[in-house]
Amino acid sequence: MIIEQIDAQLPGTVTDRHAFRGDQTIVIARENLLAVVALLHREGFQLLVDITAVDWPEREQRFDVVYHWLNLASQERLRLKVPVAEGESVPSLTGTFKTADWFEREVFDMFGIRFDGHPDLRRLLTWPDFPGHALRKDFPLDGGDPFCMEGCTAPYNNGERN
């Protein structure tokens, strides 16, 4: 239902869509995110349930940032996915949804995806010197050297800090 409205009001933004087990999913480009989110908010999708990401290392745009919305009036759910390549950033939703603050910090912490316009993009679950991003598929399961702090170059994540 909401997907038809997005198609009608912002034609061409939805690049892919599928429905599986009753969950409706749309994929949009990151340039269109804020416009679509503004529309969703107007249409009653006011509870931003979750923000997370999925890593697909073999893909050119290796991450999917995944948003889940719930419309409290109609109880309709929507999943929105934004593909991003490594090093690209996604516009932050903290302006519209206060709850996006910590969720985006967590995605940044676990995947290293940056959010433009986030007021305080620090790591949430791990410590500031933590090497790499734990939920990337190329991060070792045993966590590597947990005491690798200041002055050590991480063997993964191309030695980049943050």
């Binding site: 889940h68 206060k98 709850t99 399961l141 966590g143």
Partner: protein, 399 residues
């Protein structure tokens, strides 16, 4: 670390830095809040978390679907069964299977028992933090009975791992139903006693009314779910709004508050306990004998006696353990109403034995993210009351 630098830099000013946690009696687990005080008024509160981060989601990517169940116990350890139910419901949605009626009833029964146990901890401990010790003791006797019931059914008190994909671990043992019946009567009496102690107690009113007030719009914007959202006046309960496990067939009400303050959250939780007891009463009345696991060798392990005597069952057992289930390729998000709010599991499957990505949406993370907003300008003693009413469970918060 930023916060330590901050405390050094601010030492000579009028403001004082107080570390609440990481191990402080009122933080219930390990979380740290750096409070910046002017006198006794909070100017800034910076929560720091991750002390209990075990990488549950990363571990889940390397475990099979069944092996993940024990990890869900360790999310909200005050109501472990509800996490088991939430996770297995998500996998069943991915597999598109329907579990037997009796398994549904047992799941509802155990979920509501854990909801009562969880609310007992939340309300009781919140009262202890504020200084009312007696209420805690009255209720903890009932919590003990609830845990005895978990032990009878699952063999474990805290880390139950009670559900399986396609049903529950085993049928209810003999003696379970009579003890549950007794629990219904005694727990309801204890809740009355609790209400006599607190609900009209002027000291309790002074400490909780007007503390942590939040409007319905703000609560939704902060991503609140569960009792905290309902206390703010939004009647959102997934058991009614998006029923699962046959919740639409039970008769129960959703308590809703008006101001969202600590007192309203207390009232909502107390009433939810009563409603849960109502649901348990109805489940006990409609329990009928029957299977508790789906009859599908591709999902459920065959019974042990068949494994030892029949070739076919032995093969099914071997295939299921070694190769796992035949998972469809796709992604699902499944949410259940846990004691703290919407507990969601987002599972991405690439058809392999292990989930490609498993995401736990903890209900208390968005609630806790509003902590600074809730306590700013208040007194340090109010921060303790707000923290208790949010019911932060660090295992679920940090995953």
């Amino acid at each position: 670390m930023d916060s330590i630098a901050l405390s050094r830099q601010m030492l000579d000013g009028d403001r004082m830095i107080v570390n609440m946690g990481p191990s402080h009696p009122t933080t219930h687990g390990t979380l740290r809040i750096v409070l910046e005080l002017e006198g006794e008024t909070i100017v800034r509160a910076t929560p720091e978390m991750g002390y209990l981060h075990r990488g549950v989601e990363k571990l889940g990517e390397n475990l099979s679907y069944q092996q993940f169940i024990p990890l869900t116990d360790r999310l909200n350890y005050c109501s472990a069964i509800m996490n088991n139910v939430g996770y297995t419901t998500a996998v069943e949605k991915l597999l598109d299977i329907q579990i037997p009626k009796r398994a549904e009833h047992i799941r509802v029964l155990m979920s509501e028992l854990s909801r009562v146990a969880d609310h007992i901890v939340c309300v009781g401990v919140n009262a202890v933090d504020i200084g009312a010790f007696t209420a805690f003791l009255y209720l903890f006797k009932q919590r003990e009975t609830a845990y005895d019931l978990f032990e009878m059914a699952a063999g474990q008190r805290l880390h139950t791992s009670f559900t399986r994909i396609g049903g529950v671990f085993r049928d209810l043992p003999e003696g379970f139903v009579p003890l549950a019946e007794r629990f219904l009567v005694e727990c309801s009496e204890s809740i009355d006693e609790l209400e006599r102690l607190l609900t009209r107690n002027p000291i309790w009113h002074d400490r909780t009314k007007g503390i942590g007030v939040i409007s319905a719009e703000d609560a939704v914007n902060w991503g609140y779910t569960g009792p905290s959202l309902r206390a703010a006046g939004v009647p959102q309960d997934l058991r009614k709004a998006q029923p699962y496990l046959g919740y639409e067939t039970y008769d129960f009400d959703i308590p809703v508050g008006t101001t969202g303050d600590v007192f309203d959250r207390y009232l909502v939780r107390v009433e939810e306990m009563r409603q849960s007891l109502r649901i348990i009463r109805q489940v006990l009345d409609r329990l009928e004998p029957g299977p508790v696991m789906v009859d599908d060798p591709k999902v459920a392990l065959p019974p042990k006696e068949k494994v030892y005597t029949r070739m076919e069952s032995l093969i099914h057992h071997f295939k299921l353990i070694m190769h796992g289930m035949d998972m469809p390729v796709g992604e699902v998000y499944s949410a259940t109403e846990a004691a703290n709010g919407e507990l969601g599991f987002y599972i991405v499957s690439d058809g392999g034995k292990n989930p490609y990505r498993i995401r736990v949406r903890p209900p208390c993370l968005p609630i806790f993210s509003s902590f600074e907003d809730q306590v700013k300008g208040g007194l340090i003693a109010d921060a303790v009351a707000v923290l208790g009413a949010m019911n932060i469970i660090a295992g679920e918060l940090d995953r």
